[in-house]
């Protein structure tokens, strides 16, 4: 028996996920089983980037996918893809968990020990993404844009916290996030509406 985690062998096309989502919204449990298979490795991988702890990530991934089922009827295809909507739910759940733990730690006045070891965040995520096609687009960002985006997204930090950590004024951080994401969008050829 070997033990290395593996990456999903194949990934469903966004249009397939949209089609499954329409059936899930009408309460089709079989469609949900297929949707789960189509997105769960990406949901789990995203949440684990943020939370790191595998067992906690599994729990939060499950909560996120149950939320997808429960709120499926609220998904509006006019406003974005089903995949984008699902990953937003997953990311939000992970971030909520990080912030709840930060708040608990703050209450117990041991914020320092519980804070995200964020020096690792950018490095680890970049190393992982470097192996993938999106690396070219990430490289097209300025280092400051990349840092602000990855710290916020994978570190679960608010822009205020990112500004604190980097010692950068708030408006600058907001601008780096937005300009960086726009550049990333253009490079990856994402369009909507």
């Amino acid at each position: 028996m070997t033990t290395e985690p593996e990456r999903g062998a194949q990934q469903a096309a966004p249009a397939d996920i949209d089609a499954l989502m329409r059936r899930v919204a009408s309460g089709d449990q079989d469609a949900f089983a297929n949707l789960y298979d189509a997105v769960s490795s990406r949901v789990f991988g995203l949440i684990r980037r943020v939370l790191r702890d595998p067992a906690l990530s599994e729990e939060v991934a499950q909560e996120a996918l149950v939320e997808v089922w429960r709120t499926a009827a609220r998904f509006d295809p006019a406003r974005g893809s089903a995949a984008g909507w699902i990953f937003t739910i997953a990311h939000r759940r992970a971030v909520d968990r990080v912030r709840a733990e930060q708040a608990a730690a703050d209450r117990e006045r041991r914020a320092a020990t519980a804070s995200v070891p964020f020096d690792d965040v950018v490095e680890q995520v970049t190393a992982r993404l470097e192996q993938h096609a999106v690396r070219r687009c990430l490289r097209a960002l300025t280092q400051m844009q990349r840092e602000a985006i990855l710290l916020a997204y994978y570190g679960g930090l608010t822009y205020q916290q990112v500004a604190d950590r980097l010692g950068t004024p708030l408006p600058t951080v907001k601008t780096r996030m937005r300009d960086g994401l726009i550049r990333l969008r253009d490079c990856m050829g994402v369009s909507w509406g």
């Binding site: 028996m1 070997t2 033990t3 290395e4 985690p5 593996e6 990456r7 999903g8 990934q11 449990q29 079989d30 089983a33 298979d37 490795s41 990406r42 949901v43 789990f44 991988g45 995203l46 684990r48 980037r49 595998p54 067992a55 599994e58 499950q62 406003r79 974005g80 893809s81 995949a83 984008g84 990953f87 937003t88 990311h91 992982r128 993404l129 192996q131 993938h132 096609a133 999106v134 985006i149 916020a152 997204y153 679960g156 608010t158 822009y159 205020q160 990112v162 408006p171 907001k174 996030m177 937005r178 300009d179 994401l181 726009i182 990333l184 969008r185 990856m188 994402v190 909507w192 509406g193």
Partner: protein, 214 residues
């Protein structure tokens, strides 16, 4: 464009607190071009998940459940350190002991299978781990399964579609055969989740659900 619009990036990244999020959502409702921009930025971050997808380690899960059920489980890794680390993780997660063994290459597969009743291959996709002559016609070996679907499979001689197929005196399962059973368990688990709102299914509970289906 108002000043609040510069929050579009932070909003798409979930990098805002609840108050800012509510303010920005209100702004979005009255600004169609902003809504389009935000939708595109969210899609962009969603596309990054392609690069971070990950499956919880199948081998560790199976090893932990089997050991907890009383089986004498050996896990192999190329290097002893990673095997020992995996055994540690399994002990913490399942409270069960498994024996790590180094298997530097396929040549060691036959001797490691000495006395084995079950072989599960859950290594990296497209990597051959067990040659056919290591397992075929081996007395005592009852079943072999390979959860990879990318050729070459980990266990030489198993086909992805095998589902309880008899080959060389052993009952074998390929990834699609395993997947067929997995889908049945999966649907049973989903049905279970719909019974209650506060249920989290862990590996042990899912294994019980699976045994209930058998």
């Amino acid at each position: 464009m108002t000043d609040i619009h510069t929050l579009a990036g932070a909003y798409a990244l979930d990098a805002i607190d609840d108050l800012d999020r509510a303010r920005f959502a209100e702004h979005l409702a009255g600004c169609p071009s902003c809504a389009t921009e935000v939708a595109e930025l969210i899609e962009t971050m969603g596309a990054l998940t392609e690069a971070t997808d990950e499956t919880p380690p199948v081998g560790m899960r199976a090893a932990g459940l089997l050991a907890k059920a009383g089986a004498d489980v050996v896990i192999t890794s190329r290097r002893m350190e990673s095997g020992a680390a995996a055994a540690d993780t399994i002990r913490q997660r399942f409270g069960a002991t498994v024996r790590p063994v180094a298997m530097p290459g396929t040549a060691e597969a036959a001797s490691l299978l000495e006395g084995a009743e079950l072989l599960l291959s859950a290594g990296g996709a497209g990597i051959r781990l067990v040659p056919q002559d290591a397992w075929a016609e081996r007395s005592g070996l009852q079943a072999a399964a390979d959860v990879n679907a990318v050729p070459p499979l980990g266990v030489e001689g198993i086909e992805v579609t095998d589902n309880g197929t008899a080959r060389h005196g052993v009952t074998v399962f390929g990834a699609l055969g395993v997947g067929h059973l997995k889908m049945k368990i999966h649907k049973a688990c989903i049905a279970r989740l719909f019974e209650r709102n506060d249920l989290v299914l862990d590996a042990e509970t899912i294994a019980e659900v699976a045994q209930g289906l058998a």
